[in-house]
Amino acid sequence: MAKGIWVFAEQRNEEIKKVTYELLSAGRKAADALGEELCAVLMGKGVSGLAGKLGEYGADKVFVLDADVLENYTTDAYTNVLADLAREHQPTAILLVCSVSGRDLAAQVAQRLGTGLMTDCTDMTMEDGQLVFTRPIYAGKAFVKAACPEVRPVMATIRPNVLAADAPQAGRGAETVAVSAGAGDVRQAIKDIIKQISTRPELTEADIIVSGGRGMKGPENFAVLEELADVLGAAVGASRAAVDAGWKPHSFQVGQTGKTVSPVLYIACGVSGAIQHLAGMSSSKCIVAINKDPEANIFKVADYGIVGDLFDVVPLLKEELEKLLA
């Protein structure tokens, strides 16, 4: 008998990611509706101390897998551990973060458990007693609602910033279950890890994104956007036109062939608004467009627009926001 809503607690550098709390809050509601417990699965090295936090955000139970082999994510080690644990406890659902590792892990575990997986979900609801997931297709040009009616566990990865995190309840405890699961044969040997040195948040997790397009005219001009981004604590993104021109690496690309983002605020500078770009960012809560072409498509989706030369407007906006946020 399947039991329990599980949340894979994503942490990095011994810090729980905010999106984990978003998942716990949504998982809490699902667990209450089903009358089941909410469990967090915490994996890594030296992570035991983080379990308490997960309780404050709603977990009833925390499985802690603290081991040297789990220090860095590898597909095999994490898959072996999580799949074994799931086989033992037979949860109803496993929710993971739609991050690079979350997606990787979810696919392997889902296949090993012979179950369905819905990825990059933007909503999770309870309909007729089953969990229903909403996920974008064609990078958000359309959405699909889907469920996994017959097989357990239901698995899903959920995008950051789409579910609300409830306030933590200080002192709310969770039962901590230390598990010593074997990681088995790990076939991926990590030879090197290159951490991206950036003081800015990652695109997919950022609350605010400042993005540049063809109107940037050259790679050197992105400095203007970076200054604005730093005032706002924002990530910097780019359109496909800017990436194809070689001004920014592909990791900066927002759109159907890049990253799909849902920040609170998206500031598009010199971005024309090609359909493939819009697909990647139109689920942003608030969109600002700065473009000198009043006919630019981007104005059709923008909440606020300024028609003008971005090289005039952006530095002024930076100054203004600096004052406002000081």
Binding site: D104, P136, Y138, C148, E150, I190, L317
Partner: protein, 256 residues
Amino acid sequence: MKIVVLMKQVFDTEAKITIDGSGKINKQGVSLIMNPYDEYAVELGLRIKEKLKGDVTVVSVGGPEVQDALRQCLAMGADKAILVDPGTDDIDEFTTATILAKAVGSLEYDIILGGFKAIDDGSVQVCGRVAEILGIPVVNVVTQAEVEDGKAVATCDIDGGSAVIEVNLPAVLTAQKGGIEPRYPSMKGIMQAKKKPMQKIGLVDIGLDAAQIAPKVKTLSFFMPAAREAGKIVPGEPAEAVCELARLLREEAKAI
């Protein structure tokens, strides 16, 4: 080196998506392309072949229309194409992976490549599932790979950076845009493509029946996102407009 590439045909990135009368995604008149990330996989496969000799077989699941994309792979330089028609639209990632794994399982392979994601459903799981079914390791989101006999050293994206990962072959690698640009089919390649084998098979041919590929995920409904209303153009000279914008962002949108 026996190289297999898993390829998917998808809607063009410029395609407008609509929902038809029966509540499904409208496929009429939509132009189809090879999944852009699969182009990187084909390119990687061709480069491995050029370095180590061998051949590249491209495998896809879908209807007869997928032959266009397969022909493009052949024109780029792949040697052989296999198209498995599942005979049904009711498929999920489990279905596709099961079919692909079964089709690939009957071939010789040293390395299996695919795009790290398909731009249509963006589910990022089929190649990983294939690896799991075949019992071989997977390395996802690879931007560069050095392949030698028996092993691959791949640079891949990870959360917050990149990693260099070594795996023994056979293995599945999924390609992300990065170090290599896919080639365009050459005119000669286009002419040669028609002479290369394109095998069209069904589920029976690979020993599967409908029950074995029954999807795990059930689609309940499709819907379009609420249309965003064009908002307001903040008027005035830049200095003035910026001032007003900052105020609106704080007081009206509460975004900062």
